[in-house]
């Protein structure tokens, strides 16, 4: 496979902010997202892509595969225990519902979503993609995007309502 053309390089640079958000939606951790983005870019530069490849789709696919490789090799239980600890901290320190507290709660609730739901919701709610655009980038049917986004929003509401009741 040939290395990246000049146009592909520029397209990849333009795609970086969306790719970064995708990394964050997969990892739900800013440090991991940075590492995932860097390793994804390294792999794209090393392996290149076909001349007619859709840069956004190709880079998202490589990113997903890099993340799958990474989670296979790390101790997921330890990380789950760490994220549980972080959630407990966010739930018990809040006294009032100012925005920074709300951000903490939403952040913790987002971590509890599946990576697929998180990625779909970020594509739609943050990047403003249509269902068709998100389906093309993530390479799933449009109905799957609809379902994942709706379930993610439902899960967030119910998760945050439960937390509020517990603290009341």
């Amino acid at each position: 496979m040939s290395s990246l053309t000049a146009q592909q390089r520029q397209s990849l640079i333009d795609e970086l902010p969306r790719l970064k958000r995708f990394c964050l939606s997969l990892t739900s951790d800013p440090s991991d997202a940075d590492d995932l983005l860097q390793v994804t870019v390294e792999r794209l530069l090393e392996k290149g892509m076909p001349a007619d490849a859709h840069v956004a789709k190709w880079s998202h696919r490589v990113c997903r595969n890099v993340w799958i490789d990474e989670i296979r090799s790390r101790d997921v239980r330890n990380r789950y225990a760490q994220s549980e600890g972080a959630v407990e901290g966010a739930g018990t320190t809040a006294e009032n519902a100012d925005e920074s507290v709300q951000l903490d709660r939403v952040s913790a609730a987002m971590e509890r979503l599946s990576p697929e739901q998180r990625a779909a919701l970020v594509k739609i709610a943050v990047e403003g993609c249509s269902y068709a655009e998100a389906a093309a980038i993530l390479e799933v049917p449009i109905g799957t995007i609809m379902s994942r986004v709706a379930r993610a929003r439902k899960a967030l509401i119910e998760d945050l309502e439960w937390k509020a009741e517990r603290e009341a």
């Binding site: 940075d34 709300q102 951000l103 943050v126 249509s130 269902y131 109905g143 609809m146 379930r151 929003r153």
Partner: protein
């Protein structure tokens, strides 16, 4: 709480409830007829309206969360991408630092395991000049041993590239009928042991006891997790050695 199942509708063969309808409404993905119907319901159903506002508020917070964090990349990847003649120097990521730490811990664990077996006080981790020179110059072989010093014999097994850009070699050491298998990587001209395990060793004169599966598995697992490509063939390895790595 309202039973959403009472408002489950069939949409193109998919059963969707109010949450699905609200979600599609927010995203502008509902058709005109269902949009009008839902808008009518929102006027007269406070609970439905409250749920819509909650979804929209969460969306707003998620937008803040992700836009803030995605603006703080901290690494100049754009420059890396733009470079015409890209030599991938693989700047350290946190993942690689964690892997290096895990490797150091596994080395200590394996050495502790080996030393507590009571079979030998020989420390296989001694990366001295003799071992380093053998790693630097000796071609890999399937059998036979190379005399290293008065105490040890050496055989290089294979050479492979690591994901972080270093060259690594699997090798074997023999000492007093005991065999050790390990991996060392070349770090800016210096060979550093990464993992070592005992393979077989002498127990009660001539009775050989194979090492526990854990030791050799550690070596195999390290190679599996570290290697970025297959091992070099004999000619590639010879060229690499001749070029000074």
């Amino acid at each position: 709480m309202k039973d959403d199942s009472k408002n489950v509708v069939d949409m193109d063969g998919i059963r969707v409830d109010d949450d699905h309808l609200l979600s599609m409404y927010i995203d502008g993905e509902l058709d005109a007829e269902r949009t009008i119907s839902l808008a009518g319901r929102l006027k007269h159903e406070p609970a439905l309206r409250a749920r819509l506002f909650a979804m929209e508020n969460n969306d707003r917070l998620i937008g803040k969360l992700y836009c803030n964090q995605s603006n703080e990349s901290g690494r100049d990847l754009a420059s890396l991408i733009q470079t015409d003649n890209v030599a991938i120097f693989k700047p350290m990521t946190r993942w690689r630092e964690l892997a290096a730490g895990a490797i150091a811990a596994s080395v200590l664990a394996v050495v502790a395991l080996s030393l507590t077996t009571g079979q030998s006080t020989f420390n296989p981790m001694t990366m001295d000049r003799s071992l380093a020179q053998a790693l630097e110059r000796s071609p890999s072989r399937a059998s036979g041993w190379e005399h290293l010093d008065s105490k040890r014999e050496f055989r290089s097994v294979l050479t492979f590239p690591a994901a972080d850009g270093r060259w690594c070699r699997e090798f074997m050491l023999a000492h007093n009928e005991s065999h050790w298998r390990g991996v060392a990587c070349r770090d800016e001209g210096t060979w550093v042991n990464q993992v070592v395990g005992s393979e077989v060793f002498l127990e009660r004169e001539t009775q050989y006891r194979p090492a526990g599966a854990g030791d050799i598995e550690k070596v195999a697992r390290f190679i599996d997790e570290t290697a970025s490509d297959v091992a070099l063939g004999p000619q590639q390895e010879a060229t690499l050695i001749a070029s000074g790595w």
